[in-house]
């Protein structure tokens, strides 16, 4: 097959040029796409999904009971006290539940080593919704 050098050179250069021009277009928009994605806040959405999925009915009931046990939600407490109270009230697995509360940041440690009920935890909403 006979080769047409002009056609080949022109088409070759066209491919290189259009390819790099397309690359330039994509590159100039990467940060814009990232900005949009970051503002969609997929992170929050994902967290909400995990919380909803990981809460069992039993865990919700037990959390409510523990909250009921702590007379004043504003008062900070030591973890063993909370566990003891839970045990005395017939909770079967207070350690697992406490671990769960810490992971969901429903209870958080302060500088003194005591824990406090964290009103800002997104998990609260889900507990009381259910």
């Amino acid at each position: 097959m006979e080769i047409n050098p002009y056609l080949l050179a022109v088409s070759g250069l066209f491919i290189v040029f259009s390819g790099l021009a397309f690359l330039a277009f994509v590159v100039s928009n990467i940060h814009r796409v990232l900005f949009i994605l970051e503002n969609l806040n997929f992170k929050k959405f994902k967290e909400k999904k995990i919380i909803t999925a990981s809460f069992t009915k039993n865990q919700i009931t037990e959390t409510k009971k523990i909250i009921f046990l702590s007379k004043n939600k504003k008062e900070s407490f030591y973890l063993p006290d909370l566990i003891e109270k839970s045990l005395m009230n017939g909770q079967e697995n207070p350690w697992i539940l406490v671990d769960f509360l810490i992971k969901k940041q429903i209870i958080c440690p302060d500088e003194t080593g005591k824990f406090f009920w964290n009103d800002k935890s997104p998990a609260w909403k889900l507990i009381f919704k259910k």
Partner: protein, 355 residues
Amino acid sequence: MLLIAFFFLYLGVFKKYEPLLLVPISFGMIIGNLPSPASMSLGVYSEGSVFYYLYQGVSQGIYPPLIFIGIGAMADFSYILSRPILILLGAAAQAGIFITFIGAYFLGFAPTESAAIGIIGGADGPTAIFLTSKLAPDLIGPIAIAAYSYMALVPVIQPPIMKLLTSKKERLITMSSDFREISKKEKVIFPVTALVICCLIAPGALPLLGMLFFGNLLKEAEVTNRLAEAAKGPLIDIVTILLGISVGASTQADVFLTKKSVTIFILGVVSFAIATMCGILFAKLMNMFLKEKINPLIGAAGVSAVPDSARVVQMVAAKENPGNYILMHAMAPNISGVIGSAIAAGVMWSIIGNF
């Protein structure tokens, strides 16, 4: 050939023209051209010799992609991420490849040989060797020597062309140093995105660009620092030594000193000059449409001799105004030139390789 080898050695050692390339190549030329008994197989073309096996990395196109990993690990793509429009200069400079292809074809070279000769204009040694190993393996010696010599001679070849095509007023143009800050995410996304785009356009460029962007990802990911350090240090050094020595040793006088080789050298320098011209002229064309003017000298960095070409651009600009820093701006077309010449090689291989 020995005289040429000594001359190259002199240029490398005393004139410091690309010593990392010219010293191994010139020493390889001495090795390849010393007389040896015909009964013993010693040279690169004698099957079974040590040099024969080292040369397989060149003739099979193995060394160039390995060098590209190192280049990728050293390259900083943030210049093109902050000024993407300058990528076009890297594309414009590739015109030299295709124009020389036409010239070589009409001088009687086969289409495959013409493509391999044209790629010298990309001023990218590894790309030239890679494409030649695929299209015209017989010409690897002269094309590799021409490509690496012209890469080394960037400070000699480019400045007169730059001065010829630009006015003093143009050379004095200053460019804003206000670069956009590039996030880590962008730097990580870029090599993956660019690889997909480039290899959809020119699948033949995959061995080179795949390694280039992989090397860059190793660097930008920041979790593979050991691998990145190995790629830009020991790996690229070892491969450069092996490539330089074996390419040099392939220039045996009976194979190398032919009319064809001389023509290749002439066409190579023409290709390189045209590439430089096209980059500068395209920068001037862009200035007709851009609000914020660019210094047309940076168009010359569109050839992919990284970072020498960008350094030469800075040198020429600084001669007119020592306070004019355009090195960072020149790095953008320079790095996109590497991508452009690899795409051009891929295009040539895909089209002509099928004829």
